[in-house]
Subunit: 227 residues, 2 copies
DNA sequence: GTCCACACGTGACCC
DNA sequence: TGGGTCACGTGTGGA
């Protein structure tokens, strides 16, 4: 059976070992090709054609199978992640690393089920990218002091980024609030870019939580309303 | 700078192109090495040593960098997943595939939880009564058509019953909304009575979802605000 | 025509 | 040993 391949420097090796004739367009051979090379000792290698060639053949085929196994997994990852078939191997693996990181973070978030606000301000955004219809899905968590116009501000922020809210979860404790959002971006969004945009917007939102609202917060949240 | 490598069939190429001497333990050369090869036409390749060798050098180094990039990501994955450093590349990638699959399933489970609104209106209220400080805790779920003043109405309803919101979860899909609330009543509340009160109040709230708001809903929820 | 990414065959090394 | 993985340098084809 003729192997499909004919690439690589191995070609010259095939020529040297199997054929008596160099290729028409064979690899370039320098003019200072050493005569000592041609004349060098060849003893002990004359028996190679049989066993040695068979071993090489097995080796070659095993290596090919190995490559195919690896490639199969990579293709599967390519299919699992939202990326076209033309992303190169390194970038694909980078995405995979990021994805595993995100999901690891996500599960630990869920395990801690820390919907309830922490003492410190926190913002986290990551993309799920697992929407069945190709839209980008993001999960965002914002924890900060509460204030009367936080929710309207948040809504406006999402609107300005053309993000639709699929799910919102919020918890208030002692004047602090945590919002956990699941939002969907446009079909053609770049997930990574949008993640950064959203993170920055939310950061700005939290930093806007200023003086003017302090006194109202107590009244509003400890007694009557969460508006 | 001396490249660290000396493996591969390329070695023979380096010998042929750069040195006048074959390696001591060079690759085996068959005794039937064709004389026609040594004597074959070398014209047109005598100019290779300069430019060609440089190109080959660049190529070699670029390829090395590429390999290192890929290897870096793989090492990172090896660190991220629970597996020792000695698992082979293919197995590692298999683990990664499985991991991503699992986490994907997990997230879709979460997304598929019944927080999302159903087609029919639903109200359910029950008391948890498990508060550590003796307060009554209620869990309430309201599913109905969305409208612009649903949330303010809901807040007012809770206030009128002297209920504090501890946690609120909401999801919107196609003009319908589900709110899941965890609320705390006063210390001396009768849990059962309050459950009924709350249920009735929420029922009234949903039934108030009337004509006057139909057109606004689309505008409000698909675009601007959920207030 | 230079860069980039890939598949290939091979030597080294490990059970 | 024989079967396995790995890193290497190279040919090749696409931007």
């Amino acid at each position: 059976m003729q192997p499909e391949n004919s690439s690589g420097m191995s070609e010259i090796y095939r020529i040297l070992t199997h054929t008596g004739m160099p290729r028409a367009n064979g690899p370039e051979i320098p003019t200072f090709f050493p005569t000592s090379f041609c004349a060098s000792d060849m003893s002990g290698i004359t028996e190679l054609p049989q066993a040695r060639a068979l071993a090489a053949k097995n080796h070659k085929e095993a290596e090919k199978r190995r490559r195919e196994r690896i490639k199969g997994h990579l293709d599967e990852l390519r299919r699992l992640l939202p990326c076209n078939s033309k992303t190169d191997k390194a970038s694909l693996l980078a995405k995979v690393v990021q994805r595993v990181r995100d999901l690891k973070q996500q599960t630990s978030d869920i395990a801690g089920s820390d919907i309830f606000p922490s003492e410190t301000d926190e913002i986290s955004v990551f993309s799920d990218e697992f929407s069945s219809d190709g839209r980008s899905i993001f999960k965002a968590s914002v924890c900060c002091e509460d204030r009367s116009d936080l929710l309207p501000d948040l809504i406006e922020t999402l609107n300005s980024l053309h993000l639709r809210t699929l799910k919102a979860e919020m918890a208030m404790v002692g004047g602090r609030v945590r919002n956990v959002l699941v939002v969907a971006g446009d079909r053609d969004f770049n997930g990574d870019d949008c993640t950064d945009l959203l993170r920055d917007a939310l950061k700005a939102l939290v930093e806007r939580s200023d003086s003017s609202d302090r006194c109202k917060r107590q009244r509003i949240f400890d007694r009557r309303t969460m508006k």
